[in-house]
C-alpha cells in the first residue's frame, strides 16, 4: 500500500464561491465606496457651493434641482452633506487609528510581558472602561477645545480601553496556543514568537473590532457635533447638520437627509464587520 494514496485532501471550502459575497455585503461596500468618493472628490458629485445660500430658495423641499432640499439660508443640503463627509469620515478614522495604536500597544505589552506590568496596565484599562465612553469623550474634548479634530482625538481616547482589552485577551489566548510552544521548541526566541506568531494571530480580532469601532466612532463624533463640540458652522459635519435641522420642525428633510446618510454609512460598516466575523 502506498503512503500517498492515503492522504486524500478533503474539500476545504464547502460553500460555493458565489455565496461568499451576499448581496447586502456588496451593497454595503458600494455605499462605503460612494462615501469615500464623496470625501475625496466632493466636487465630482455636486456643483453647488455648500456655503453659498440663495435667500429666495430657502426651505425648498427635496427635488431634482436640490436632492436633499435647501436649508434656512437657501443652501443646497446635498452639497452640504457631501462636503461634510470628509470631516465626518476622516475624524472617525483618526479615532479608530488612535484606539488601535494606543490600545493595541497597551494590550500587547500587558498580555505578553505579564506580571506587574500587566497588573498596572489592567487597572488603567479598567479606568478607561469604567468611564462611559461618551462622557469621557465629552470631558476630553472640553479640555482640548471645541474642534472636530479634538472630537476625533477624544473619541479615540474613549476607545483605547476596548482595544487594549481585546488585544490583551487575544495575546494571552495565542500565547497559550500549542503552536506557540511548538515554535519555542523549534528554537524560536521570545521576540520571534511575539512578532511572527502572536501578533499576526492576535491582530485578526483587533482588525475586526476596528471595523466595528469605525461605525461607532462615526456615531460618537456625530453626537459630539450634534451637541456643538465640533467645528462651528459653516462646517457641515453630519451631526451638526442634524442639530441645525432640528430647529426647523417644518422642514423635516433637514433632519432626515443627513440622518439617513449617517445611518446608511454606519449600517454598511456594521454589515461588513459582521460578514468579516462570519467568514473568518
Amino acid at each position: 500500500m502506498s503512503v500517498s494514496a492515503l492522504s486524500r485532501a478533503r474539500p476545504v471550502i464547502r460553500r460555493g464561491q458565489a455565496s461568499r459575497f451576499p448581496p447586502t455585503v456588496v451593497a454595503s461596500f458600494a455605499v462605503l465606496a460612494l462615501v469615500l468618493l464623496w470625501s475625496l472628490v466632493p466636487t465630482l458629485f455636486t456643483g453647488q457651493d455648500p456655503a453659498r445660500g440663495v435667500p429666495a430658495d430657502k426651505f425648498l423641499g427635496p427635488s431634482t434641482a436640490h436632492w436633499f432640499g435647501t436649508d434656512h439660508l437657501g443652501r443646497d443640503l446635498f452639497a452640504r452633506v457631501v462636503h461634510g463627509t470628509a470631516s465626518s469620515v476622516t475624524s472617525a478614522l483618526v479615532a479608530v487609528g488612535i484606539g488601535v495604536l494606543v490600545g493595541g500597544l497597551i494590550g500587547l505589552i500587558a498580555g505578553f510581558v505579564g506580571g506587574w506590568v500587566d497588573a498596572v496596565l489592567a487597572r488603567l484599562v479598567d479606568v478607561l472602561l469604567a468611564i462611559p465612553s461618551f462622557l469621557l469623550a465629552v470631558v476630553v474634548v472640553s479640555s482640548l477645545g471645541f474642534e472636530t479634530i479634538n472630537a476625533a482625538i477624544a473619541t479615540g481616547v474613549s476607545a483605547v480601553g476596548v482595544f487594549a482589552r481585546v488585544m490583551r485577551s487575544e495575546v494571552l489566548k495565542t500565547r497559550r496556543a500549542v503552536f506557540v510552544e511548538a515554535s519555542y521548541l523549534q528554537g524560536g526566541s521570545r521576540w520571534h514568537i511575539l512578532v511572527r506568531h502572536v501578533l499576526p494571530n492576535a491582530s485578526r480580532s483587533v482588525l475586526m473590532l476596528a471595523v466595528l469601532q469605525f461605525g461607532l466612532s462615526i456615531l460618537i463624533i456625530a453626537g459630539l457635533a450634534f451637541l456643538g463640540y465640533g467645528d462651528p458652522p459653516p462646517a457641515s459635519d453630519w451631526g451638526l447638520l442634524i442639530s441645525i435641522g432640528k430647529d426647523y420642525p417644518l422642514a423635516q428633510w433637514l433632519v432626515y437627509a443627513p440622518a439617513l446618510v449617517t445611518i446608511a454609512t454606519v449600517l454598511s460598516v456594521n454589515r461588513i464587520s459582521r460578514w468579516l466575523r462570519k467568514t473568518d
Binding site: 505578553f112 487597572r123 479598567d126 461618551f134 479640555s143 519555542y184 511575539l194 432640528k246 454589515r271 459582521r274
Partner: protein
Amino acid sequence: MNRDYARYALRRVLQAIVVILLAYVFTFVVISVLPGDPVTNTLRNPQNGFTEEEIARIVSYYGLDRPVYEQLWDSLSRLLVGDLGISLRSGLPVGRLIGDVLGSTLLLAGSALVVALVLAFAIGFGTRYLPKRYGQGLLRAFPSLFLSVPNFVIGLVLINVFAFQLGLFRVIDSEGGLATFFAAIALGIPVSAQVAEVLIANLDHEAGQEYASVARSRGLGQTGLFLRHLLKPSALPVVTVVALTVGELLGGAVITEQIFGRTGIGSLVERSVTTQDLPVLQAVVTLAAVIFVVVNLVADLAYPLLDPRVRLGGAKPRDKAEVAR
C-alpha cells in the same frame, strides 16, 4: 468553593475601589495636564460675574496657585471626606448640584434599561418562535439596525411624531410619565441592540449544543426545550452585558436629556462643558465610574452564584506552563 469565592470577592472589591480612585485621578489629570487653563479663564470671564474676593476664595480653595500634585492631593483628600468641590459657574457645592438632578437621570436610565430588556427579550423570543423565513430574518436584522442609528435621531423622530404631530407630550419642561417613557425609548433602543445580539447568539449556540438534541431525542417539544433548556444558559451571560451597558445609559443621557428638554446629570454635564465648569465635570465622571464599577462588581459577584458552570479557583497545571520564556 466558599473560601475561593470569599477570596475572589475580596479581590474584586479591592480592585473596584482602586479603579474608582484612579478614575478620579485620571479625570483630574485629563483636565489639569492637557493644554489650556480653563479654570482661571472661566473665573476671569466677565460674563460669569465673579467678584475679586470670590475669585480669590475659589483660587485658594482649589489651590490653583500651588503645584499640580498638591492640588491633586487636596482634591483626593476632599473626595475621601465626601466633598466634591465648588462649581465654578454658580459657586454652589457640586455635591448639591448633582444631588438635585441625580434622581431624574436614574429614573430615565432605569426606564431605558427596562425598555431595552423588554425589547431584547421580545426579539430573542421572536427569532425562535416566529415563522421561519420572514419573521426571523427580519428580527435578526433589528439589532444591527438599532446599533446604526444615532440615538439623537431616534429621539428627534419620536418627538416629531408623538409630541409635535400627535401631541402626546410636551418637550419643554416636561417630566411627565409619557415624556419619560419616550425619552427612555430613545435611550434604550441602542442598548437593547447589544443585549439582543448577545441573547440571539447565545440562543443559537445553545440550540446547536448536543444536549439540546439529546433532550429532544427524549421526546421534549420545542416549547419545552426553549423554556427549560435554552433560556437559562442563554440569559445568564446577559447579566454581564447589561452591567456593561450602564456606561452607555449614563453617557447617552447627555444627548437624550438635551433633546427632550429634561434636567438631569446629562444636562448638567452639557451645561458644565459649555461653561468649562471643571469641578462639576470631574465629579460627574467619577460618579459615573462609581455607578459603573459598582453595578459590574455586583454582576461579577452574582455570576458564579447563578451559573454552576463557572468554577473559581486555581488554574489547571497545563495553564501554568510558562510557554514563551
